[in-house]
């Protein structure tokens, strides 16, 4: 993949991740599951797609810029500390999970969600100076199983479409043009 294409895609993905993390605030999931910090993790769809499509390095950069911009638009420094500790731990876990052969995108996403929860609870423990917040962790982990599965389904759908050769994500660009002609 060329540098320009990679750069453009990264920019689009940052914008998409920001839009998704804003949009999911409109979904009142905490009324269904009354736990602080419960969310769908829609922005993780973008992180995962980036990880699978562009590789760990680009996904890492996209994540960092998304968290930074997200905290500027609302959330502040505390929000940044939370999204970064959760996001980076999830990123690390998902990068390792991606390399792990027995795991599909579902396992990677579920482990990523769990890592995200653990990271956020760790940040909360530091902020509150109390280990007691960890009592929330089991509930968050169990909710994360479902949200992780749901995001994985979305990622699988996106990747299936994008990895079709006509979108030009295949290894050779010549074959892309050939398919376009046949279509």
């Amino acid at each position: 993949m060329g540098t320009t294409k990679r750069l453009t895609l990264s920019a689009v993905m940052i914008a998409l991740a920001l839009a998704l993390s804003y949009a999911e605030r409109l979904i009142p999931l905490q009324f269904v599951i009354p736990l602080p910090g419960v969310k769908l993790g829609l922005a993780n769809i973008v992180t995962l797609v980036a990880l699978y499509l562009l590789g760990a390095r680009s996904a890492f950069i996209i994540l960092c810029i998304r968290c930074l911009l997200g905290s500027m638009f609302g959330g502040g420094i505390t929000g940044l500390a939370f999204s970064l500790t959760g996001g980076l731990l999830a990123m690390l876990t998902m990068t390792c999970g991606r390399k792990c052969k027995p795991l599909s995108v579902y396992g990677v996403s579920i482990l990523g969600a769990a890592a995200h929860n653990i990271g956020q609870i760790c940040a909360a423990m530091v902020l509150m100076r109390s280990y007691y917040v960890a009592a929330y962790l089991p509930y968050l982990l169990l909710v994360g199983l479902f949200t992780g599965f749901a995001t994985a389904a979305a990622v699988a759908g996106v990747l299936k479409i994008l990895s079709a050769e006509r979108f030009g994500f295949s290894e050779t660009s010549n074959r892309t043009q050939n398919t376009e002609e046949t279509i």
Partner: protein
């Protein structure tokens, strides 16, 4: 694209099992020991015990900080009834009354914890 592994695999069950084991383990670890009936409400801010109230007396209390929470004790249960914090997670936690349960307001760094009757004696407010 090589080897995307977009379909659910047997290995994923292991990942799910690992998360479930961790969750259940933590759940057991944090289960309140002894009497589950709530005896008192402890209000923490920045990890320090701010106030303590008995659960059997109706009470209203303002917690100040970066934001403001109103805590109310009614009929042996406690809830945060008003809050100007962003998110309002503490409000959606609702009324709690059993030992070991807690309400957390992260923006205000407030934690409201219910302790059992047996835990109350040695805590000095």
């Amino acid at each position: 694209m090589k080897d995307l592994r977009l379909h659910f695999l047997k290995g994923d069950i292991l990942a799910i099992a690992a998360v479930v084991v961790l969750a259940v383990g933590l759940l057991i670890f944090f289960v309140p020991k002894g009497d589950t009936a709530g005896g008192a409400v402890q209000v923490y801010q920045d990890g320090k015990l701010l106030r303590e109230f008995p659960l059997n007396t109706d009470e209203s209390f303002e917690i100040n900080g970066d934001y403001h929470n109103t805590l109310e004790i009614r009929n042996g249960k406690v809830a945060i009834t008003h809050s100007d914090c962003p998110g309002g997670d503490c409000l959606s936690s609702g009324w709690i009354g059993t030992a070991g349960r807690s309400i957390v307001c992260l923006p205000n760094r407030v934690e409201i914890r219910i302790v059992g009757k047996s835990d109350v004696d040695f805590v000095v407010g």
